[in-house]
Subunit: 254 residues, 2 copies
DNA sequence: CGTTCCCTTGACACCGATCAACTCTGGTGG
DNA sequence: CCACCAGAGTTGATCGGTGTCAAGGGAACG
């Protein structure tokens, strides 16, 4: 039980260097947990959350709906991702978060979260860095959806998910779970399910990926990246550079 | 000279309550300044910034280019906006920032910025809040570009700019400067300049806006909002709710 | 006074949407 | 064990919004 937050620690640890006590603090934040079934909401637009939610395991989608009922997914939340630091600062959710699989979430009381920067200043940077990376992903989505055709758009999304999942160890030799229906993928890319289907078939036909029963196998990663011009630098996978206060451990690896 | 950062103070102040000494701190941050001509870069992709840039006056655009040369603007930076808190934390810019007009920017050394949360914890929340609002705007753009046709998409962008400029006092009776060519608007919305032109004419034809020589007049705001289902709550224009540590001044106005 | 940038307009092509039917799979209950 | 059903994937035909290409006009600027 004490290591169910492994993905969360892996994610933050991959992105910043965490000291031993910092890791313990993060673990302590995750004690309150809940299992949420697929197709249920973790939080909905309009609510005023009292907790910060952290995805310990499973997939979720952040989305907005418009008056006419159409849905746009604006982010996929993977194991280790923080759903809404918003909660501590913004009062009203401007979107909803839906579980795509059964999800284990940690509920961190906002007050507890508020104390983190005070009690553990080094974690402030780690959290801030995670937030800024989320922002970079949002920018990449705008560029991807705005300036790429369906085929490279899909390829880029797959490359991104691959890179992010790999970071937390959820990729096994180019293979990972992709618990999203074609409709979900469509809502993430601003397309229709029918067209995602056709794009997917094209990728299959070219021998780039195999996708069946929510299991995706990348067959030719270089060609897939080439197709969409994928460059993972926006994910800032390298560790944190240190040119300021805080942050003690200087051992950079990888 | 000492009040050139008025828009910056207005922006942060509109979004959080700032104490007198906090305001002074912000003012101190902005002492190093520079004028940048239109069409020049404030910072480019790949650079490792040593400063955080704040737009004191003028417009800029944050954008990404792809291999094929196409450009996607992912944000408009208006007077008072912070360009890149990234600088303190992420080392490499994953996008560029271009001045759309002559811009006055403040250069805040990263070390100085790093000290802010330590020396003025109340400002930490204000900065964090500004960052989270930027994130909310990015999400709104994904939804706007992904799920709206050209006409409502353009209307929504105009409504957003209207709301954000109003916040810092740059709207005069529905009228404001919009120093973006149709090509720039197109690159922000994932369209072509030709199609933006036609959408614009449609808006004009319906008597909703007048746009000429980079000056925009909204003629019928309710109808414009109705057209795109604009709901400004994602901008979180209300002041900060306080349910944690820090933050002393409790007088809420508005 | 020419040049450049931006806006405008028309003709046409094409990508992706839409609509509709059918298949396949897994699950559920009789 | 079978019948049924719902959700997801697949396919084809057609429509339409937006892109593309090309030409021309107008205003600012040196």
């Amino acid at each position: 039980m004490s290591d169910d937050c492994a993905y969360f620690l892996a994610k933050l640890g991959a992105v910043s260097n965490l000291s031993e006590p910092a890791t313990d603090t993060l673990r302590d934040l995750c004690v309150r947990r809940k299992l949420i079934d697929a197709k249920r909401h973790i939080i909905r637009e309009g609510e005023r959350p009292a907790h910060v939610h952290i995805i310990l395991d499973g997939w979720a989608a952040r989305y907005k709906v418009q008056k006419d009922g159409s849905r746009q997914i604006v982010a996929f939340l993977l194991p280790g991702d923080i759903c809404d630091l918003h909660a501590t600062i913004l009062t009203r959710m401007d979107h909803s978060i839906l579980a795509l699989t059964r999800v284990q979430v940690a509920f961190v009381p906002a007050e507890l979260m508020d104390e983190v920067p005070v009690s553990r200043p080094e974690l402030l940077k780690a959290l801030w860095r995670a937030t800024l990376i989320d922002e970079a992903v949002l920018r990449a989505w705008i560029a991807n959806n705005g300036r790429r055709r369906a085929l490279p758009r899909l390829a880029h999304l797959i490359c991104e998910l691959h890179a992010r999942l790999k970071l937390v160890g959820l990729v096994d030799d180019g293979h990972f779970r992709l618990p999203a229906t074609q409709e979900v993928l469509a809502d993430a890319m601003g397309l229709t399910a029918v067209h995602v289907n056709r794009a997917l078939q094209e990728l299959r036909g070219r021998g780039l990926v195999a996708l069946d029963l929510r299991e995706l196998q990348i067959l030719n990663l270089p060609a897939l990246k080439e197709l969409c011009g994928f460059d993972d630098s926006y994910l800032h996978l390298g560790k944190m550079a240190d040119h300021g206060v805080g942050q003690a451990a200087p051992e950079l690896l990888n």
